[in-house]
Amino acid sequence: MTARSPGDVAVRLHDASIGYDDVPIVARVDLTVRHGEAIAVLGSNGSGKTTLARGLLGLAPVLGGDVEILGAPVGRLRDPGRIGYVPQRHTVSGAVPATVREVVSVGRLARLGLFRRLRAADRVAVGEAVAAVGLADRMEEPIASLSGGQQRRVLVARALAAQPELLIMDEPTAGVDAASQDALAEVLARVSAAGTTLLVVTHETGPLASVLARAVVVDQGRISYDGPLAGAASGSGEHHCGPVADAGRPGYRLDQPTVTARPVRSLGGGR
């Protein structure tokens, strides 16, 4: 069943622990993201924010609790291709040259099962995704001939080509020049307006702040804040996760899923 409506749950973590080699990096976290939401997952280096996203994608094992994504436990999704993913890497890494078209077409493959070939409609989607990131005129060029920022945009286009219901991005603005960051914010605003759920892992929201309404702050493997982005980030979009003593971390759970914005503690927002 792929039908969905705004308000349905896109991502649900309940008492979830995620980590590697049986060592939880994210511990006993609760989080609910509804379809159509645009959420920033903030945190300093090593806070566990990337591990959280990797757990949703099935790239880091869930060690305890429940993690559901688009209505199914992680890794059990019936129709692949409903999730878009932009990894943290800056560049496309393959040893053999590939064109923009070839890389972005990969984003379409997961929707097609094991044997179906790309059809006209798929090629149109690929073309639209590349146009959306402003690289339509570079379609047949080898990726290696593009700048770092452009290569990042190719990876965004690859994720968009699947026309995903949920788009997960890991540090999409890191190492990208200001113009490309603005362009990315524009693309994400359009995608979000079209109903795609966005989950952006980042240590600074930058221009994306205009798109991301809600923020979750991950601190030492736990969610220390869940509420409007404005409450988590200072005006510059810089986010600082200071070593604020918060022994009990009271109420970081979202016990009432209908409440999507619930500040747990202020993170420098009041200064």
């Binding site: 993913y85 040893a95 053999v96 040259p97 590939a98 990969v106 094991l114 005129d137 690859r158």
Partner: protein
């Protein structure tokens, strides 16, 4: 052609033609995945299969195929389970394979076909008509699978993590690729030998990688290069009396060196020209910018300026503004957007 008058040379050339085509078609995915030596390892494993075939008097080619495919599946399962012990597990499997093969072959009764050299370094002229039939079946099967699943294999080889995240069947595709490698190893065993198989899978792809613009182009180019070096190496070995495997591989490496040198030369020339033009404009007082009087031409992620018929792309370097020449070297068809924007 005298060489074609002999039945054994006809069969040898047919075998080398198939190997030359198939090995790079599979090898390019290994290069992309940075797993170039998988073919080498599976060659080691195949030797145990050969030995079992000889000892049990069954067809060594069939037994080698079974051993190599089993080894390939085992390797993918080990890789999928985690990285910590994977490297060592592979080494154990690979060297266990070749040691097992050597020991088992030494146990074979005298008079059986136990010529180790023939398997390690190839013995193309001993290819029989039955071998050719098996080779043809393997060739068709491998090419069919690459044709059918090539795009998925590319996806998994290019970015395995992304493929897993979006729900492509990564483990299944990796096992398919490993099985393709195993089949290619067995196909190539007679022509280039188990110790040199990897070279024919990797070197043509390495050449293609230097000059191709797209993955598809690289694939076709690698197959073409593989075909040419394989057939011409076999032909040359007939006249020089050298082993076919070594001759083919040396030829492939020669092609690689020539192309690599040519590409390096071209790049050095381009850099020199770039610097020379940079010098011209270092003395050029005009600085391009919005409203500088020169037509601004959007070009990808930046703006070029039309300067007396050639395009200047300003960029900042440590020493100041530097102008790249854009659009004067390339044919107009190569830069549709630039031309269209003019």
């Amino acid at each position: 052609m005298e060489i074609l008058e002999y039945g054994f040379m006809q069969r040898a050339l047919l075998a080398s033609l198939m190997v030359g085509l198939v090995a790079p078609a599979v090898g390019i995915f290994l290069v992309q995945r940075r797993l170039s030596l998988l073919g080498d390892g599976l060659g080691h494993v195949a030797l145990t299969g050969v030995a079992i075939g000889v000892l049990t008097s069954t067809a060594p080619v069939g037994a080698a195929l079974v051993a190599a495919v089993l080894g390939a599946v085992l390797i993918e399962l080990v890789r999928a389970r985690g990285r910590t012990s994977g490297d060592v597990a592979l080494a154990v499997l690979f060297y266990g394979g070749i040691a097992g093969g050597v020991v088992l072959l030494s146990l074979a009764p005298r008079g059986s076909a136990t010529n180790l050299d023939a398997y390690l370094f190839g013995a193309i002229t001993t290819t029989s008509a039955e071998d050719l039939a098996v080779f043809a079946a393997i060739t068709l099967a491998v090419l069919a699978v690459v044709g059918l699943l090539g795009q998925r294999l590319y996806a998994v080889s290019d970015d395995e993590e992304y493929a897993r995240a979006v729900g492509l069947p990564v483990l299944a595709l990796n096992i398919v690729l490993a099985a393709l490698v195993a089949s290619t190893v067995v196909l190539s065993m007679r022509v280039v030998g188990l110790l040199l198989i990897s070279a024919l899978m990797i070197v043509p792809s390495a050449v293609a990688q230097l000059v191709a613009r797209s993955f598809r182009q690289a694939l076709y180019l690698a197959c073409g290069i593989g075909l040419v070096v394989s057939v011409s190496g076999t032909t040359a070995s007939y006249y020089t009396g050298t082993p076919s495997g070594g001759t083919i591989v040396l030829l492939a490496i020669a092609v690689f060196l020539v192309v690599a040198a040519a590409v390096a030369l071209r790049e050095a020339t381009a850099r020199r020209r770039h610097r020379r033009r940079g010098d011209v404009h270092a003395a050029h007082p005009h600085e391009h910018g919005p409203g500088c009087g020169h037509q601004a031409v959007p070009h990808g992620d930046h703006v070029d300026y039309d300067h007396d018929g050639h395009l200047h792309a300003p960029h900042l370097t440590g020493t100041g503004v530097h102008y790249d020449e854009h659009g004067t070297d390339a044919a107009p068809a190569d830069r549709p957007a630039t031309e269209g924007a003019r």
